[in-house]
């Protein structure tokens, strides 16, 4: 019986957050601090012909103006990927702090540090810039066209191509395609979704005597921000400290790397003025000038044999990476690796393009290519089911990957309870009674289902630091931040379980590069899986060290000693942890270890079933219920797992029905505020039933896998499938706004 693992412990930072005591970057104020504002481009694509900051610099209270002529000309990429890249990838560096060219509406032209925000704002208005306006494009297919202007210099891949087309596959797709009894081909169109963390991107930068730099940051990856700042600003990494202080108001992938350019610009201005500088993005900047999810197109072809066996699958994306690469370098391949490994398909093919356009950069967002991939794949699976006259669940069950199956992934499928997830989700939605009911009249109901998997990655370079204090309590630090996911609760739970000590005796500190081992950061659904393994490893090391020390002191053989429930026992002696710690302290001995994860990953699995009601007169789709069943391995903290599922499902509903940033013909974004960006409110929440399907993962910490990103993956295809069940119309473009749905209904009526 486990005492801490599997328990819904209240999160340890809960009281901090419920009383207003929790500090975020927004709350950092330093003596003598200046405030920064950014002048952003109102053109989507233009060369800067001249820039005159003299009037701005002359304003009272203005301390520095930074722009392309007086900042480092060092190319970089603000994503964590650029500095954590696997050895076989070359990061694409395509950004300067400021450039003499702007590539989207909102691109940074200059920044001002002043005594007050108002003075900085006024100074921004006084900077004179003359532009040579260039043609701009927001659609990736158009950006590949002959008429499109080149947004970056051609690196040899073709105009506006971020990299060479990505290719992958197994078997012989073309031959297999010809052998299929039924086939489906379609192209789905995907929107630009925004993460919308509640704390806007922000940073406070402070120079330190001796050429150092201390930066408070809203990033999910403080260690990567440190490396990026050091590289561009030419400071030794060892002299740069990045602190997530200690809380972050959400991330959802957007801040896997820098928080927009907040850290870089605050640091540049701090170096120029020698004073602390605070840069807090306003909501408009947050919406229009930080990374988004990749939109674009995915062409999918799926072929099956008469008996329903999937035989050939191709996934060919053309993704919109916006004005800069960020995480875009890996995204097209992700469409394949996620999309082609949920079902057993012996013949697959992938040909992917990622394209520059003149819109905000696309980077990482919860799911990282997976929602896009599974929207395409599940569209095709439903179509094959329809063509074969098969129940969509039945067809899925026949084809989903099982443990030991071959798949085109560099790791093995060591556990999956996807089949159980499908059954549980289907039962919870009432699939048997509801699917395929004849629907008439104005309000029509339907149910749908979709599935997916994700990763939970580990990494040998990351670690946790663990110290036994003189009173037997434990202090643990990790360079990963708790951006809301609860790892500063679950990692102590794992430690408490590993060493059989009370949770109350553990204190964890996170997200400060000066106090923590190097860490790859909080992304790829790795925080719990990876650092959980590191915690167990640290506990193992500590336990071994304690046994060896006790054996040495007692003169016993360490192999004969045991560690049980916080007590070290030998043949003749025993010590509680407290007794040992105190004894060791008095004899100049401390126990400090760094635990490491390992180079491994495992797949969490998920199935979502949705029930919707469609208003045939207005095109409004209302979600009645989503049943979300997740194979998370062993749930370390079920309440926190449910929270991850519920939040992800609502983001998935937003992706399915409402959320998109659209652009006019000049590439000006319309949805630049919360008011204009339709993320769901409390009034829009359907019944969300989160179902935890436990599967003991042989690799995970206490059998756990990740969950964070999984919950946003199959929601949209499940909803679109339910809409098809209700209306007979399959929509290929997200989100299903009333306008799109009514247009679909009109077209279906016209073609009858």
């Amino acid at each position: 019986m486990k005492r801490y693992v599997g328990q819904s412990e209240a999160r340890l930072d809960g009281v901090w957050k419920a009383t207003g005591a929790a500090g975020y970057t927004h709350d950092v104020t330093l003596p003598n601090m200046l405030y920064a504002k950014i002048l952003r481009s109102s053109h989507a694509h233009a060369n800067i012909l001249s820039l005159d900051a003299s009037e701005a610099e002359a304003l009272p209270g203005v301390r520095a103006v930074a722009h392309w002529e007086n900042t480092p000309r060092v190319l970089y990429n603000g994503s964590a990927f650029a500095v954590t890249a696997a050895s076989h990838f070359t990061p694409i560096l395509d950004q300067y702090v400021f450039d003499n060219k702007v590539r989207f509406v909102g691109d940074e032209v200059a920044a001002v540090a002043a005594d007050t925000e108002a003075a900085a704002e006024e100074a921004c208005r006084r900077i004179r810039v003359s532009y040579e306006v260039l043609p701009a494009v927001s659609d990736p297919l158009e950006a590949l066209g002959e008429d499109a202007a080149a947004i970056h210099e051609d690196q040899g891949w073709g105009k506006n191509m971020l990299h060479a087309p990505t290719e992958a596959g197994v078997g012989d797709f073309e031959a297999a395609w010809a052998e299929c009894d039924v086939t489906y081909e379609g192209t789905v169109k995907l929107p630009v979704q925004k993460q919308v963390p509640m704390e806007t991107s922000s940073s406070v930068a402070q120079t330190l005597p001796g050429g150092g730099l201390r930066v408070w940051s809203s990033s999910q990856t403080p260690h990567q921000v440190r490396v990026l700042l050091a590289n561009v600003l030419d400071i030794a990494e060892s002299k740069v400290q990045v602190i997530c202080p200690p809380f972050i108001g959400g991330g959802f992938g957007q801040r896997s790397g820098m928080s927009g350019k907040a850290e870089m610009i605050a640091a540049v201005l701090a170096l120029k003025t020698g004073r602390p500088v605070k840069l807090e993005y306003d909501r408009h900047e947050e919406m229009t000038a930080t990374d988004s999810r990749h939109g674009g197109y995915v062409n999918v072809r799926l072929g099956a044999k008469k008996d329903g066996t999937f035989h050939a699958l191709s996934l060919d994306p053309v993704l919109n990476t916006g004005a800069y690469c960020s995480w875009g370098g890996t995204m097209s391949m992700k469409i394949y690796t996620f999309g082609a490994t949920v079902y057993r398909v012996p013949n697959t093919r992938h040909f992917g393009k990622t394209v520059y356009t003149n819109i905000l950069p696309a980077g990482a967002m919860r799911g990282f290519g997976n929602p896009q991939a599974m929207f395409a794949v599940e569209t095709a699976v439903d179509a094959i089911a329809r063509k074969l006259g098969r129940d969509p669940i039945d067809l899925r069950m026949q084809n989903i990957v099982a443990v030991g199956d071959d798949w085109d992934n560099p790791f093995e499928c060591v556990s999956t309870e996807l089949a159980a997830c499908v059954r549980r989700a289907a039962d919870a939605i009432g699939w048997a009674e509801k699917r395929g009911r004849k629907q008439e009249g104005t309000l029509r109901r339907g149910v749908g289902i979709a599935v997916g998997r994700h990763v939970s990655a580990s990494d040998r370079a990351s670690g946790v630091f663990l110290r036994l204090e003189a009173d037997g309590s434990l202090y643990m630090t990790s360079g990963v931040c708790d951006m809301g996911n609860g790892i500063t609760t679950t990692l102590p739970q794992i430690l408490a379980e590993s060493l059989s000590i009370p949770l109350e005796r553990i204190n964890m500190y996170a997200g400060d590069t000066n106090a923590t081992p190097y860490d790859i950061g909080g992304h790829s659904t790795r925080s719990l899986y990876d650092r959980g393994l590191a915690v167990i490893n640290a506990a193992d090391q500590l336990r071994q060290n304690l046994l060896e020390y006790a054996a040495e002191v007692w003169g016993e053989k360490s192999a004969a000693l045991r560690y049980e429930a916080g007590v070290i026992r030998g043949a003749q002696n025993s010590w509680t942890l407290e007794e040992l710690a105190l004894y060791a302290h008095r004899h100049q001995r401390r126990f400090e270890v760094i635990g490491r994860g390992r180079d491994s990953t495992t797949a969490p699995w998920e199935a979502h079933a949705a029930e919707v009601e469609v208003d045939m007169e207005t095109g409004v789709v209302k979600v009645i219920k989503v049943a979300a069943a997740h194979d998370v391995g062993v749930a370390i903290n079920p309440a926190l797992v449910e929270g991850q599922i519920e939040g992800g499902v609502l983001q998935g509903i937003g992706y399915a029905l409402r959320e998109e940033i659209t652009f006019d013909e000049n590439c000006v974004p319309y949805n630049d505020s919360i008011h204009k960006y339709m993320l769901p409110t409390a009034g829009d929440v359907p019944v969300i039933e989160s179902i935890i399907v436990e599967a003991n993962d042989p690799l995970g910490p206490f059998g756990a896998k990740g969950v964070a990103e999984c919950s946003v993956v199959p929601t949209a295809p499940a909803i679109v499938s339910a809409v098809e069940d209700a209306t007979g119309i399959r929509f290929l473009e997200l989100p299903l706004t009333p306008v799109r749905v009514l247009q679909g209904i009109n077209e279906a009526r016209a073609s009858q």
Binding site: R658, T662, Y670, I674, G683, P738, V739, L742, N746
Partner: protein, 292 residues
Amino acid sequence: MKYVMANSGADAVDILRRANGDGRVIAGGTDLVLDIAGGKYAPSVLVDISAAGDMREIVPREQCIAIGGSVTHSQAARSEVILREAPALAEACAAVGSLQIRNVATLAGNVVNAQPAADAAVALSALGATCVVAGEEGDRILPMERMYEGFGKSAVDSARELVREIRVPRRKKGEASAFIRLEMRKALALPMLNVAAAARVEDGVVVWARISMAPVGVGPVRAVAAEEGLVGFSLEEEVILRAAEKALEQANPRSNPLRGTRAYRMQVLPVLVARALRAVRTQLEKEEEETR
């Protein structure tokens, strides 16, 4: 910029007079604060009327429900007399923004701000409300239709005058009103379309009807052709559908990148008008059952 709390409507008018065109009325401020921050207005005096003692209540009088010029959406949405006699207004007020916004934003401000999609204004228009506008020269009384002079342009000059009171006629037996709103999410959203309908039925036949809709033109737009088409008929399904189609005669919606294309709005507007009229019919049927 000086910030002054007015004690009464008359006090506010007096402060504005002394500011000589350089002052501006602030009530809830939910729009004005942004307008000032964005540089649209730069008054030397802001006259806050939210504490003006004579404008904070909803008072049922013999002929009308008098809604004070600083009554908030929350007050109106929960007012028993409004819920009973002008449910369209209560529903419209409950649909605006969020509770935090409704707790400060005033009905009068919703009208004076003159936005094309104002919810309360649409309901007030269908209810046949009038506005009492107080200025240096005394009061003038304007029907809702005359409160708008263009897109975002009010007939009230907030540098010199203010809406002191909004008067909604008391509901008589045989009268009902309803409000229908289509939006992209349940809160924090402007309507894609909103429609309010009110009617009087005697001996099973419509005596008068008022249908107001937005955003399909300047301010709330009355669907006069539809209204006329109802008079003399009973509110049967066929009659309702015919009238609903006629609502398009007065509608000239624009396309909005978020809240619906013109084509969408033209297709859905009659649906909403029909739904509002059906809601009116349901209320009247219920009243009849209760009095029987």
